[in-house]
């Protein structure tokens, strides 16, 4: 009789232990999932922002050749006169951009234009950033040539 009673108590203790274990697991799981989804959402929002900045730059009517409403035809003369403050006005603060014509290494300034093919705006060293790049056309105003470049646009964290 005593043994049966003890067995019952043991059984209840065991069941209670498992019930508590399940409750703890549920709590830990919900916390972990919440943290995971928050991080993932943050990462998605960052990617969306980088993607938006890329599209905003490549489609900007201020930088594209007239007549190319769908964008992606950046005019070299417009890029040469663009300054960091203009870019910040266009896309917001803490952003940067680079346009690099394939095989070109010469940085474009008002002095080196048009024998150049790299334009950088608001680039700061040693800072964490998220950026996307995409191919674009660069229209050479003086020669009426159309070259291919890589546009990189991003923002600092």
């Amino acid at each position: 009789m005593l043994r049966k009673g003890q067995a019952h108590i043991m059984e209840y203790i065991l069941v209670s232990f498992f019930v508590l274990l399940v409750i703890f697991l549920i709590v830990f799981f919900l916390m972990g999932w919440q943290i995971g989804t928050t991080k993932s959402r943050q990462s998605v929002l960052r990617e969306q922002k980088a993607s938006f900045l890329l599209k905003a730059f490549s489609n900007s009517p201020y930088l594209n050749k007239e007549g190319f409403s769908e964008g992606g035809m950046l005019e070299d003369s417009k890029l040469t006169v663009l300054e960091c403050s203009d870019l910040e006005e266009l896309l917001g603060e803490e952003v940067f951009a680079e346009v690099k014509v394939l095989d070109s290494i010469a940085e474009c300034t008002q002095e080196s234009y048009p024998r150049c093919g790299v334009w950088t705006f608001c680039k700061r060293e040693e800072r964490n950033f998220i950026a996307y790049d995409t191919p674009v056309n660069v229209y050479r105003t003086l020669t009426r040539d159309v070259e291919i470049g890589i546009l990189t646009v991003g923002f600092y964290e």
């Binding site: 498992f18 399940v22 070259e147 890589i150």
Partner: protein, 169 residues
């Protein structure tokens, strides 16, 4: 009877734990899925458009890549002069084969993990005997995860449908 009841509750608890673990893993994995698909779709479209608009270095009818491809599909006998040395002449097909894959490969050097396949065909399959020009790796089209861009080259009589498929190597 009591033993059986105890075992049954234990089994139920273990089952609940397993269900929670499985649901938890599924939710965690699904929440970590990134939104990179949108970016690669933009990339594929921009790659196709920028290559089509680029100048080839040859004169009319091969001024841009899209002109050259159109000429290669419709006027096989036409010749294009090289801008820097007019004594160099090539057919539209030769220029298209030389310039198009070369430009795409050059751009993709900045994304070495990507491979491509390009299909060019007349919009109306009855035109030009259904001829198709392809560049790149045909296996790309068979990959599970691909990003596709479509563009039309609009010309008098025959429009061309150009499809660019990107996939990771």
């Amino acid at each position: 009877m009591n033993n059986f009841r105890g075992q049954a509750s234990l089994i139920v608890i273990v089952l609940i734990i397993i269900i929670f673990i499985v649901v938890g893993l599924f939710l965690l994995v699904s929440s970590f899925t990134t939104e990179e698909t949108e970016y690669y779709n933009i990339y594929a479209h921009d790659l196709l458009v920028s290559v089509m608009r680029a100048k080839t270095g040859y004169k009319d009818p091969c001024e841009t890549v899209s002109d050259t491809i159109y000429c290669a599909m419709t006027g096989l006998s036409r010749q294009c002069k090289y801008s820097k040395d007019e004594s160099i002449r090539k057919s539209c097909g030769e220029v298209a084969d030389e310039v198009t894959p070369g430009l795409i490969r050059k751009i993709l050097t900045t994304k070495p993990s990507l491979d491509y396949y390009m299909i060019i065909q007349p919009e109306d399959p009855e035109h030009l005997g259904g001829e198709t020009i392809t560049y790149g790796n045909p296996d790309v089209a068979k990959r599970a995860k691909t990003w596709t861009a479509n563009e039309r080259v609009l010309r008098y009589q025959t429009n061309l449908q150009i499809q660019l498929i990107l996939a990771t190597i």
